[in-house]
Amino acid sequence: MGYLRDAPDDWLPLRLVDQDGTPLLGAELPPHDTVLAIFRWMVFGRVFDQRMLSLQRQGRIGTIGSIRGQEASAAGLGVAMRGEDWLAGSYRELLTYMVHGVPAETLISLYRGGVPGPFPEGVRALPVQIVIGAQMPQAAGLGLALKLRQERAAVVACCGDGATSEGDFHEGVNFAGAHHLPVVFVVQNNGWAISVPRARQTASATIAQKAFAYGMPAAQVDGNDALAVYEVCREALERARRGDGPSLIEAVTYRLGPHTTSDDPTRYRDETEVKAREAEDPLPRLRRYLEHAGLYEEGLQERLEEEARESMGMAVATAEAMPPVTPEQVFDLTWAAETDGARRERERALLELREVGEL
């Protein structure tokens, strides 16, 4: 007896900057302009989130998921990516999408119930995923294409802790491992899958350790330490671009807001837990680092917030000026090569609408 072994449980999340903004001894930190870029995007993410919630309350957009508290993970990752990399993420990674080049107005249009695209020419991203985990095998497919064409680029596949329970998570990560593909899997473990806590999602001590079963290296990182997220993503992305294969990053963060605007988190989680986590908010933490490093100019955050509000104002105006989706557009976008039978269906549907004056 005594044949069975446990997995190692000596994980310590990577951290480069402390809660109070002090860099850890010997930490190699990104260059100043990179740090400032991450800070600027985090501020933008916070303003975006606030604005989207208020648009939802005014009935100008539909249900939307809050990203508050997860800006460090999203921006650290996004800034580490390059234009030639692909992004396959979900509704919790809207900030990463914007860092990667998807304009805010495109996402606002999506949440207004409009056509979510096209993305600007050259922006390499799959549509914002709604079905949990479905992007994981798709990311493996993108990685396979990059590998076969010998492109020096990587794929980023993002999901949350809940998605790691999905079959598609297993299938996608396993495929990337088996075919040694240039994919970086980034799991934002925000502690909650709607109302189900991380501990009910999996008995694994960490999500990071799941990577070992798929034959790839992993890191667990303090997801509220933007610079640690950036550095670990950079390493994983460079490794993938070099052709050294996939890896998995678990960013441990916290969803400060509700799952979506339709969710009431007081039904399932203690407000004292949220209060405690507010103290670990990644945005003031990075600001404290900037101050510590002498990079913070007086009024910087307020200036960035003002810029973000202005840019969001323009994005909202652009999105709201977009013409509503037409039935013709839906048919146009369904088929690239419409057959006679499909055309017959289109004409019948339009005729029916015209007959009653709905078109």
Partner: protein, 324 residues
């Protein structure tokens, strides 16, 4: 060249791999083993492991990886080993592949083919024998194609590979090696979305597709000995449906039997019957008959010969339309 259906399928893939550097084949056992039906036999040897890939045993990822490849500009041909396993791929095909173009405002397209052998009466376990075309025909955004002959198999598969929309290509397992016929050697296509008249006749229209076309032809031979001339419409593409070819035949005959081996409720027979009553109601001389599988799951081997429509059942249904 002389080819049966599975050889025609293989020839189409060989031509596509040769002519289109973006084309690749992936699936379970498609590489070294050449596929459990030998549909990809020799392709990995000829084109290498980068063009003909063995995947892990996971159908959802085969379809999902296909989407990723297509989004990146490749033209994947994904093999699902048996259509019976297509339920597992439903989210990737129905929610993802079929909607990629719409959900990206046209930025990305899923130029990909998902091939799967379908249908029963080959004495394989029940869960391998399903016909799921109606489920995917109910999922607009993906074309659903079922060849009935070796000629059609090659030409339709090449057309599917070249089509900018995703195509579910269901190959009738029962006639994979049923017969060899002369087909052109090189590249040719049979257009998607078009039915064909497989046999002309003026008394009754038999609408079928896939392996059922052969059974309908047998039934037509029997009916001919009784002086009944059956016209057979082979749908070839069941989604989007080529209504005009069906309606033209019904306007001529006034009598219709729709045949499929898939389960009866919500099957293609219901759709075809609805299209006919919308478009040719006043030409009908008799109620539309359906000869189909039952309203049960696909049964065990000992009963499958009774489940899959036979020539006798088709002929009997045709006679009912004539005596109505």
């Amino acid at each position: 060249m002389k080819a049966n259906v599975v050889e025609a399928v293989q020839d189409a893939m060989r031509i596509a791999l040769r002519e289109d550097p973006a084309c690749l084949v992936l699936g379970e056992d498609v590489g070294r083993n050449g596929g459990v039906f030998r549909a990809t036999d020799g392709l990995q040897q000829e084109f290498g492991e980068g063009r003909v890939l063995d995947t892990p045993l996971a159908e959802s990822s085969i379809a999902g990886v296909g989407l990723g490849l297509a989004a990146a500009g490749m033209h994947p041909i994904c093999e699902i080993q048996f259509a019976g396993f297509l339920y597992i791929t439903m989210n990737q095909i129905g929610s993802q592949v079929a909607r990629l173009r719409l959900r990206t405002g046209g930025s990305l397209k899923a130029q990909m083919v998902i091939r799967a052998p379908y249908g029963g009466n080959v004495r394989t376990p029940d869960l391998h024998s399903d016909s799921f075309e109606a489920i995917y025909a109910h999922t607009p955004g993906i074309k659903v194609v079922l060849p009935a002959t070796a000629y059609a198999a090659k030409g339709l598969l090449l057309a599917a590979i070249e089509d900018p929309d995703p195509v579910l290509f269901l190959e009738p397992m029962r006639i994979y090696r049923g017969f060899r016929e002369e087909i052109p050697d090189g590249h040719y296509t049979v257009p998607l979305g078009q039915a064909r008249v497989a046999r002309e006749g003026g008394d009754v229209t038999l609408v079928a597709y896939g392996a059922a076309v052969g059974t309908a032809l047998e039934a037509a031979d029997v009916l001919a000995t009784e002086g009944i001339q059956a016209e057979i419409v082979d749908l070839q593409t069941v989604a989007p449906l080529d209504a005009e070819t069906v309606l033209a035949s019904v306007r001529k005959t006034g009598r219709v039997v729709v045949i499929h081996e898939a389960a009866r409720p919500g099957g293609l027979g219901a759709e075809v019957a609805a299209v006919i009553q919308e478009g040719a109601f006043y030409s009908l001389e008799a109620p539309i008959e359906r000869v189909t599988g039952w309203a049960t799951p696909y049964p065990f081997v000992q009963a499958e010969g009774l489940y899959v429509p036979s020539a006798a059942r088709i002929a009997a249904a045709a006679r009912r339309t004539l005596s109505a």
